[in-house]
Symmetry: none
Subunit: 224 residues, 2 copies
DNA sequence: TTTATAGTTAAGGTCAACCTAATCTTAAAA
DNA sequence: TTTTAAGATTAGGTTGACCTTAACTATAAA
């Protein structure tokens, strides 16, 4: 495990080398607001650990391993930032700063699941980076809106979508979170409420609301 | 700002002083898996900062300020842990460990909002603590359980949920269907039945039963 | 080929933790 | 009331992960 600060170096090297091949010491020093000497020193450590390619006087770049690490970190950053702004209504600047702290604390697993929870937003461009980042993973599935499921059918929530952010937020806050197992208990009438079950909870849900929840019916025992 | 480790001391002092008035040095040392000497040392620092009451050889306790701080921290822990288990399906042990890291990174603001997002679950008992914890703040959640609504308040039924399927079915069969407008006519006594109105029907409803019905109070004319 | 600029090393500092060993307090047993 | 063991504290020291300044060195453009 690399420490928080080392991780910052990695992520910043990534940011600076994204377009160009290498980051220069001074450039990085300015960017991170430390002395060039500190950068040189740190880089030697990271090189020894195989995370960066380092040739004296020639700048740094990430190794394959470092790249993977840094990208993962950046994804975490984005996922968190996204979550903070979209789900918690935190303003952008604050969200960014907070994501900078939290990206070092969240596990890979949680980041991935968080990504799933939010549907696809992590694919898209990120405000604080020049480059877009990719979603953590994708699968082939049979996905149906919850309101189209028949009685006693079940599956796993794939994603939730609506033009109205509020609706998505509301559903999330009700516990409809991608990844959870869900089954239709009872259908009261065709266009009427659905009684659904998730874990121990049973819940009655409006037909229209249910249409925003997409269920993967082939995913009953699949793990992320 | 106190460092992560200092925060750990605070939260652990809180845990140990919850029942008893003070925590003993050795007790804390054992609990945190460090030497008693380290504890003494750290405590002096915290005392200097006004976060703990410290009288040599007499044990530590939190000051008013330290208590506030530690409680806030523990709340953060709970909110995060809850989020990880309930929303991301992370197993408990992992969630706890992760919350331990993240509690130092999340801001007060985000914790509060996260709490709101999740509705009320943070009120309830927490798996990893002996003591239940309170919600981060009362806050303005639009979705409120019916039993918490004041007299003459109204809204639209958002959803109905219970661990017991029968309860949900019964409520549905009584006409409590998501989407319907509802208002509190009369409150007979604090924990007593509510008389509610839906359309033309008036109905008396047990306090406990009412707690399963969630009302969107901001949604009086809103459509899903 | 010179020389400014950029990069590196050396030497040393700080800070927050931690530890062991020695010493001191307290409280309870003798 | 004295003794003493358990518990707490201090002293002194270590470590790791940073950082800095100052002096030195390489590079590449004039």
């Amino acid at each position: 495990m690399t420490t928080g600060n080392r991780e910052d170096y990695l992520i910043n090297i990534l940011r600076l080398t994204e377009g160009e091949g290498v980051a220069k010491t001074t450039e990085l020093a300015t960017y991170m607001n430390v002395s060039p000497a500190s950068v040189s020193e740190m880089i030697k450590v990271l090189a020894k650990e195989g995370l960066v390619n380092y040739e004296k006087y020639k700048g740094v770049s990430l190794t394959e391993e470092g790249l993977t690490y840094a990208r993962q970190l950046r994804k975490k950053h984005h996922v968190l930032e996204r979550f903070l702004t979209d789900y918690l209504n935190i303003d952008h600047k604050t969200a960014h700063e907070e994501a900078c702290r939290m990206e070092h604390a969240i596990s890979d697993e949680s980041a991935i699941k968080m990504c799933h929870m939010m549907g696809t937003p992590v694919d898209s461009d990120c405000q604080s980076c020049k480059k877009p980042c990719k979603a953590v993973s994708e699968g082939v599935t049979r996905i149906t809106p919850l309101n189209k499921l028949a009685q006693s059918e079940s599956g796993r929530i794939s994603h939730i979508t609506s033009d109205d952010t509020e609706v998505v937020k509301r559903l999330i806050s009700m516990g409809f979170v991608p990844g959870r197992e869900i089954s239709i208990e009872t259908i009261l009438s065709d266009g009427g409420p659905r009684i659904v079950r998730m874990g121990n909870a049973t819940m009655a849900l409006d037909y229209h609301l249910a249409s925003h929840i997409f269920v993967d019916t082939a995913a009953e025992s699949e793990q992320f």
